[in-house]
């Protein structure tokens, strides 16, 4: 019996599926983690700009008080999250650099 016959009977696919992790590491699309990070930072920046626009509207006399409060809080939270992620990344990098190989 040849291996190909056994394979066709059992149905084992010799090529493992490309997992999501490997995809995000850039093997498939070519962007990957850097792109994701950049996109996330872009969103955080967008929230800050939103909050600014709302605050401007209120300062000029119009605007919506609760909308302004919400967008300010969202900007604050997303900034804090970004800071936490940055801290973790830096820690992870330092951990890796400390490995003795």
């Amino acid at each position: 019996m040849s291996i190909e016959t056994i394979r066709s009977i059992v149905g084992i696919n010799p090529q493992p599926e490309v997992s999501q992790v490997e995809r995000s590491l850039g093997s498939a699309s070519g962007g990957g983690f850097a792109e994701t990070l950049g996109g996330a930072l872009q969103k955080v920046d967008q929230m800050q700009l939103n909050a600014d626009a709302q605050a401007d509207k209120v300062a000029m006399g119009g605007g919506n008080l609760h909308e302004m409060s919400m967008s300010l809080e969202e900007a604050d939270i997303s900034m804090r999250l970004a800071m936490k992620v940055r801290t973790k990344l830096v820690e992870a990098y330092q951990e890796i650099m400390r490995m003795s190989v």
Binding site: D56, L72, D76, M79
Partner: protein, 145 residues
């Protein structure tokens, strides 16, 4: 590098103008029984526009407290911001909408409502400014507070 953006400046101007408006309203309330008194008023959006313009144009520097301002007006106070000054020049006699026998035209109820709204908007601008500065402070202090 600009650390504090235009929004913060605009919020500060709005706080200044709101304070001038409060003064105007308080003056009307204090004079609600003065015969022949016409209430003063301030147009908020006009005042904001003037405040912005005052911030944009370069004002003449005065090296002495007694120097006259660029338009010939009185000495600009050390404690008054440009926005306050710009808003103050726009305070004018209102038309009054509450005629009475003694000539006083202050509508006390409307004035009180205006006072409440003004105070609310002042608080909103102050809260927004505080929040923006808090975000900045958080980032600068590297995640501490």
């Amino acid at each position: 590098m600009k650390l504090f953006d235009t929004t913060l400046t605009r919020l500060q101007q709005s706080l200044d103008v709101r304070l001038v408006e409060h003064n105007v309203l308080a003056g009307n309330i204090a004079n609600s029984d003065t015969p022949g008194y016409r209430p003063k008023e301030l147009d908020f959006s006009q005042a904001m526009a003037a405040a912005q313009q005052a911030a944009d144009t370069e004002m003449l520097a005065s090296t002495d407290a007694r120097h006259l301002g660029p338009n010939g007006e009185g000495p600009a106070g050390a404690g008054a911001s440009r926005a306050t000054f710009a808003a103050t020049t726009l305070v004018r006699d209102g038309v009054g909408n509450s005629p009475s026998l003694d000539g006083n035209q202050v509508d006390l109820d409307r004035t009180m409502a205006g006072l409440a709204e003004n105070s609310l908007q002042y608080g909103a601008s102050a809260r927004a400014a505080g929040k923006k500065l808090a975000i900045l402070r958080y980032v600068v202090s590297d995640g501490g507070s």
